[in-house]
């Protein structure tokens, strides 16, 4: 029996090793339920929170989701969340019980809000040693710029990342949208402004029509497209990012639903991966991927899983 391979992932410049590369995607996870089905403390490398905003948001009206046969889903949840104060007081405490690094996903609609949120988070940081990173959800409208998403321009990204970076001393990931054209300049802006990692991708934009009623199914017409159909788009983003920024950790996300998908993302350049839509039907997927990675590493004689990151580029 060979030794258990090391699934640890070390990211540059931080004094912390993820015990494995498996994270959940923001907004698609409920730890208390999933922990009953697979032991999170063992199977996951960290937990990403639902995106929180400065104050509570009630979200959009129903229906909020559309199932797209075979290819994925649309969602129009509208960032329903209890607000930052509640999350800092209650959610972080319950998340800490899993003894995993916590990645707090944040969004706001102005630089001032981003700045205030960062101050609030920093002020409780010492209470939550597991709070490792912030992930900025850049797919949120900037009210000072006519509601255009911060993430849709280099300037918007620079401003937000700089604002948070000035206050938050820890790990900072910028989660990019695939809806704003070439992702490389956007990522460049985030890195330049101080992001220590790039999460890619958020959902694509999509529409579904109810042909019987002759109108869009979602009340707000467009929704975020996720699931197996977005995987090649996400992999393309990860590939490009790794090629241009080999030193910057990439957190790959989009359509991952198996061990093989995970391996593809890592080989394309992702140090860590996030699983979203696929865990709705298969909440035990985290454990399946964990066991699969262990077995794969053993079969391939990998001493460290980290060796896989970006390996497809050197072929």
């Amino acid at each position: 029996m060979s030794e258990t391979p090391c699934l640890e992932i070390k990211l540059p410049h931080i004094n912390f090793n993820f015990q494995n590369p498996i994270l959940n995607a923001s907004g698609t996870f409920y730890p208390a339920s999933f922990d009953q089905l697979c032991p999170l403390a063992k199977c996951m490398g960290g937990i990403v929170t639902k995106t929180v905003t400065p104050t509570a948001k009630t979200g959009n009206s129903q229906p909020r989701t559309v199932e797209l046969p075979g290819i994925g889903m649309l969602n129009s949840i509208g960032l329903q969340n209890p607000g930052l104060a509640y999350t800092l007081e209650k959610d972080l405490e319950s998340l800490s019980t899993y003894h995993l690094p916590i990645i707090l996903s944040i969004a706001a609609t102005s630089l001032q809000e981003f700045s205030q949120m960062s101050e609030q988070i920093v002020s409780v940081q010492s209470q939550y040693p597991n709070l490792l990173a912030l992930e900025i959800n850049l797919s949120c409208p900037n009210v000072d710029k006519g509601g255009l998403d911060f993430g849709s321009s280099c300037d918007g990204i620079t401003e937000v990342v700089k604002t948070v970076r000035d206050i938050w001393p820890g790990v900072l990931w910028a989660k990019l949208t695939p809806n704003a054209g070439n992702i490389i300049p956007l990522a460049g802006a985030a890195v330049e402004a101080g992001a220590s990692g790039i999460t890619a991708i958020n959902t694509l934009l999509g529409v579904a029509i109810d042909i019987r009623r002759r109108r869009p199914i979602l009340p707000r017409v467009s929704g975020g497209y996720s699931g197996p159909g977005v995987k090649p788009v996400a992999l393309h983003a990860v590939w490009q990012l790794y090629k241009h920024f080999p030193e910057i950790p990439i957190i790959g996300i989009g359509g991952i639903q198996s061990l093989d998908d995970t391996l593809e993302f890592m080989m394309a350049g992702a140090s860590l991966i996030q699983v979203g839509t696929a865990c709705f039907a298969r909440p035990t997927l985290f454990e399946d991927i964990h066991n699969g990675l262990t077995q794969f590493a053993r079969q391939e004689g990998l001493a460290h899983l980290q060796e896989l990151v970006g390996c497809a580029h050197s072929q």
Binding site: Y30, I77, A281
Partner: protein, 280 residues
């Protein structure tokens, strides 16, 4: 909650597009049988790449001795259409039990001490399970329980379901309604309640399950007629995950600003907790 590997033991067509699916849990301990309260549900994996989400179904009935449990379902779309083709021996994953379920009967001695069950169509399933658990419980009896059950036609009620309800309740405490008048009261269950206020007045605990409009109409009548009764409704929302992960299944609340996830905090709610338009 667990993800159980199950096997189809039997599938019976008991009415127009109406199926009774019997499942046996394999391998894992047969806890679906022990833990499932009336009103709780399961998420059924359709095991086909054509579907992304599992489908939620109430547990109709559980046989503790064998571990076999039953789901009553209506074919309404592609997923349920495919389920209707499942044969004995077909294996599938079933996640459950999920959700909160109905409250226990209020213990306090009240003037209005009866329990009233109101089921529309497939909404009879969790009420059936309530009667089943009640009939097997040593310190509860069905003496004070009455049930109004309606569907479009007599055939849509499902004969085996009606027979079992009659066995538990006797024909005097089971009121059947059909939209076309082919059996029992000619009209829907909400109309029946409006025309029979005594039934509602006598009830301290009312449980309603069925299409949203029907539940809203019933709640309006019940609130007006029995203002102090505990009125519970079991909601049906589209549920991508069933585990609280996606925030896709929410319902607006009358008593708090943030909507509730139906899969996690429900599917059973007290009627006054809900911000239902047009319900007085």
């Amino acid at each position: 909650m667990q993800d159980y590997l199950c096997e189809v033991v039997r599938q019976e067509n008991i009415g127009p597009d109406l199926y009774l699916l019997s499942l046996n849990t394999l391998r894992k301990p047969q806890q679906v049988a022990f833990a499932c309260r009336p009103g709780q549900f399961v998420m059924v994996d359709l095991h086909s790449e054509a579907f992304l989400f599992r489908r939620p179904f109430s547990v109709l009935s559980v046989d503790k001795a064998t571990g076999i449990f039953h789901i009553l379902y209506k074919v309404v779309g592609r997923g349920t259409q495919m389920m209707a083709n499942w044969q004995s021996g077909f294996q599938l994953s079933v996640l459950g039990p999920l959700g909160n379920g109905f409250s226990q009967r209020p213990q306090a001695k009240m003037e209005a001490s009866k329990t009233l069950l109101v089921g529309g169509g497939i909404g009879v399933a969790p009420l059936y399970r309530f009667l089943e658990t009640q009939s097997k419980s040593q310190n509860q009896s069905l003496e004070d329980v009455q049930c109004v059950y309606g569907a479009r036609t007599a055939a849509d009620l499902g004969l085996p379901i009606v027979e079992q309800l009659e066995y538990w309740l006797g024909s005097d405490k089971l009121m059947l309604c059909t939209d076309d008048g082919s059996l029992g009261f000619h009209g829907n269950v909400a109309e029946y309640l409006r025309q029979n206020p005594r039934l509602v007045e006598d009830s301290g605990h009312i449980m309603v399950c069925g299409p949203t409009r029907m539940m809203q109409a019933c709640v309006t009548t019940c609130r007006n007629t029995a203002p102090s009764a505990l009125i519970e409704v079991s909601l049906e929302e589209h549920m991508p995950c069933g585990t609280g992960a996606c925030s896709g299944c929410v319902v607006e609340r009358a008593d708090q600003a943030l909507p509730s996830k139906v899969c996690l905090e429900g599917p059973v709610f007290q009627a006054q907790q809900l911000a239902w338009e047009g319900v007085s």
